[in-house]
């Protein structure tokens, strides 16, 4: 993409932002094929997002302020979020029947009326969930587990009013 990042580009950037790597290491960390990386990496090089020296790829820290603001623009982040959501929905509906519910993709959508008190309980649960994720991330900073970038779990959550969703659909045409 000219300005934003595709998910397959984002995972490479995330991988290199943890540590500089050669192509084999990027391959292992992202689980992307060699051929695909041979297309993505030169593309990121041309956009001055990464550097290449003696077989090692790294984030171009001198240039990163110029492209980070562009990549993290609201419109670009919105497109990336849509791509993640679409991919999750697609994964869920083509779920392999052999996979156990725990290992396969999970997607839950609930609609319900909530009293003011129940709304508070929901907000509290969501805050607890967020605090849990932030806690895990903090722990990983001090006790890295040598996890691969591709093995991260992606969790999406959120809540809104049904009528706002309907309104959004009507406004988007």
């Amino acid at each position: 993409m000219k300005d934003g990042l595709l998910m397959i580009e984002r995972i490479v950037i995330e991988s290199l932002s943890k540590k500089e790597k050669n192509i084999q290491e990027v391959e292992i960390d992202t689980n992307l094929g060699h051929g695909l990386l041979m297309n993505i990496l030169p593309n990121l090089l041309m956009r001055n997002m990464i550097k290449y020296k003696n077989g090692i790829y790294s984030i171009d820290k001198e240039q990163c302020f110029s492209w980070l603001s562009e990549v993290n623009k609201k419109e670009n982040v919105k497109e990336e979020a849509k791509e993640i959501f679409t991919s999750l929905v697609n994964q869920y509906f083509k779920k392999d029947p052999l996979l156990t519910p725990k290992s396969g993709p999970q997607l839950k959508i609930q609609k319900m009326w909530l009293t003011r008190d129940e709304e508070m309980v929901l907000k509290s649960h969501m805050a607890t969930l967020e605090a849990f994720f932030n806690g895990v991330k903090e722990t990983r900073k001090t006790h890295p587990q040598r996890e691969k970038t591709c093995e991260q779990r992606v969790v999406i959550w959120g809540a809104t009013c049904y009528s706002d969703l309907v309104e959004g659909v009507l406004q988007a045409v």
């Binding site: 998910m7 397959i8 695909l36 041979m38 297309n39 993505i40 497109e79 849509k82 988007a172 045409v173």
Partner: protein, 111 residues
């Protein structure tokens, strides 16, 4: 005129050479007008569009990407069109990156 001839030929071919009466019923164009069109009278744009849509229907192109994209471009708001453009652009960019580069074959030279 060339476009007119092409579309009439396509229509006749796809509908197994129907009678003028049958064409009139199918297109909603008057029988005498159909007769004149098939005898070289210049077609109006609206008539061309009718024949064109019938041909596309017959070819199963009514709900194809091209047709739906055209309809969207005519009817949806600029914001909605931009949304679709970005969606399609991201799809094609991902596809382009996913095209595996062909590795040059190494040849062994024998002296």
């Amino acid at each position: 005129m060339e476009l007119q001839t092409t579309i009439l030929n396509q229509y006749m071919l796809l509908n197994n050479r129907p009678t003028l009466k049958r064409i009139s019923q199918d297109t909603g164009i008057q029988l005498t007008r159909i007769f004149r069109l098939f005898n070289g009278s210049t077609m109006k744009l609206s008539e061309y569009q009718i024949f064109n849509s019938r041909v596309k229907e017959k070819m199963g192109l009514t709900d194809g990407l091209e047709a739906i994209a055209f309809e969207c471009s005519l009817k949806l708001s600029p914001e909605a069109i931009k949304d679709l453009e970005v969606f399609l652009k991201r799809k094609i960019e991902t596809w382009k990156l996913a095209q595996i580069q062909k590795q040059p074959k190494t040849t062994v030279l024998i002296a």
